[in-house]
């Protein structure tokens, strides 16, 4: 029963062929097997948002997703946001400018969540941002700066699209 299984995952546009115990979550596959520890483990039970990644462009929790479930799907992690020549995503830049983190441990999850929040159209008002970013706990208490960063990035991305 349940011998290790060969899984082929596409993460950040790159194929990873991994020999995994079928019980392996996407989170552990990334951190322990694919050498992509940017995605963080904060609770491992769907209660903190630190492990947020995108699967087919939607934000999900990788701790409650089996690695096997994302075969054939596109996984994007924090390591995959920059362009090939190192240009950061507007949300990453805004997080630095607004000091939207301290210890940095929840930050990859916050950023993946924020990008999706903007894309979903849930970043229209500060209250919307607060509600739709509430799935990402920050114990350092960077919330006001996270809201500012998301607001700022959303408006920059809107301007960029308009140009």
């Amino acid at each position: 029963m349940s011998a290790a299984r060969q899984l082929s995952l596409e993460v950040n546009g790159k194929r990873h062929n991994l020999q995994l115990d079928i019980r392996t979550t996407l989170l552990d596959a990334l951190r322990e097997h694919a050498d992509l520890p940017g995605t963080k483990k904060g609770c491992d039970q769907g209660q903190c948002g630190a492990c947020t990644v995108h699967v087919d462009g939607e934000r999900v929790l990788s701790c409650l997703t089996l690695a096997a479930q994302v075969e054939g799907r596109q996984v994007t992690t924090i390591e995959g946001l920059q362009t090939a020549d190192g240009v950061m995503h507007a949300v990453q830049t805004a997080f630095i400018e607004h000091d939207a983190f301290q210890c940095g441990y929840c930050t990859p999850g916050q950023i993946m969540s924020a990008i999706a929040c903007i894309r979903e159209g849930h970043a229209g008002t500060d209250d919307d941002i607060r509600e739709y970013m509430s799935g990402n706990i920050c114990r350092c208490g960077a919330y006001p700066h996270i809201v500012a960063a998301v607001r700022d990035a959303a408006s920059r991305l809107k301007t960029e699209r308009a140009l």
Binding site: R59, V60, L66, A68, E120, H122, S134, G135
Partner: protein
Amino acid sequence: MRPFDYLRAQDTAAAIAEAGKPETKFLAGGITLLDLMKLNVERPARVVDITRLSGLDTIEVSADVIRIGALAKMSKVADHAGVREAAPVLSESLWRAASAQLRNMASIGGNLMQRTRCTYFRDPGAYSNCNKRNPGSGCAAIEGINRNHAVLGTSDACIAIYPGDFAVSLVAFDADVLVRGTVARRIPIDEFYLLPGQTPHLEHPLSPGEMIVGIEIPRSAALKRSHYLKVRDRASYEFAAASAAVGIEMEADGRTIRDVRIAVGGVATKPWRLRAVEASLKGKTLDESTLRAAAAAAVEGAKSSGHNAFKIALVPKVVARALMTVGDIS
């Protein structure tokens, strides 16, 4: 987590056939199942991944019914323009639940199957006494920390709360659960959730292999004028301390209640319809004192286990305020 065989179902018939085998579970969003597997509450030998079945994620709003496929994501239903227009309560009870990430993962069918958050149920390593996990073993919660346990629909065997939001709306508005097994059938939502009684391990009237394929909610004037009020300690990403799904339809005079629907969540062992309160309000004039007086009956038969006594006081206020909101009483 116990090792398991992982099977990816290619079509519904195959999924149902596989799931009929012993110790087998459907895996959709994984939020309840994987969580409980990590806690060793669920220890299936086989897991059937149904997330790639086609045709089960549709959302249709027709003239008389809203039909939602079992694999539609909570987030998609919550943001669906037709649902928001025809049934605000459905959208609200979805987006006020969990977090954006979880709603992107969670399927509607899986959400209906969400299990209790009773901390004793979720801690098998420390508490073998749980009638839901081990029938006949007792209940650790009744004498334990029970702030988030039920005051309605309890038994001396179990006080575990039904924690969800969406099903509370469905119960208020008479939805049907569409199920497929060896035959296709339709289960009224109120009957889909079983009271614990002496058998708290039995939560749904489903046979092995039966799969939820969708839900249907009849459209009504009350559904269009509806609201979900969720009261909790934290402003978001938390289960309800108490909640109410309500809808109202007025007579032509604009003052008299023709139809009213009320169900409450976060306080009962199942989504809790308040038919007696509804009956007492029909034909009455819509005003604050009438609503508050009627809502007082919402907790008839409620039983405190200690820490959860506050819920008994809270429920009538939540019901009244939800109705005041849909009734435009500021």
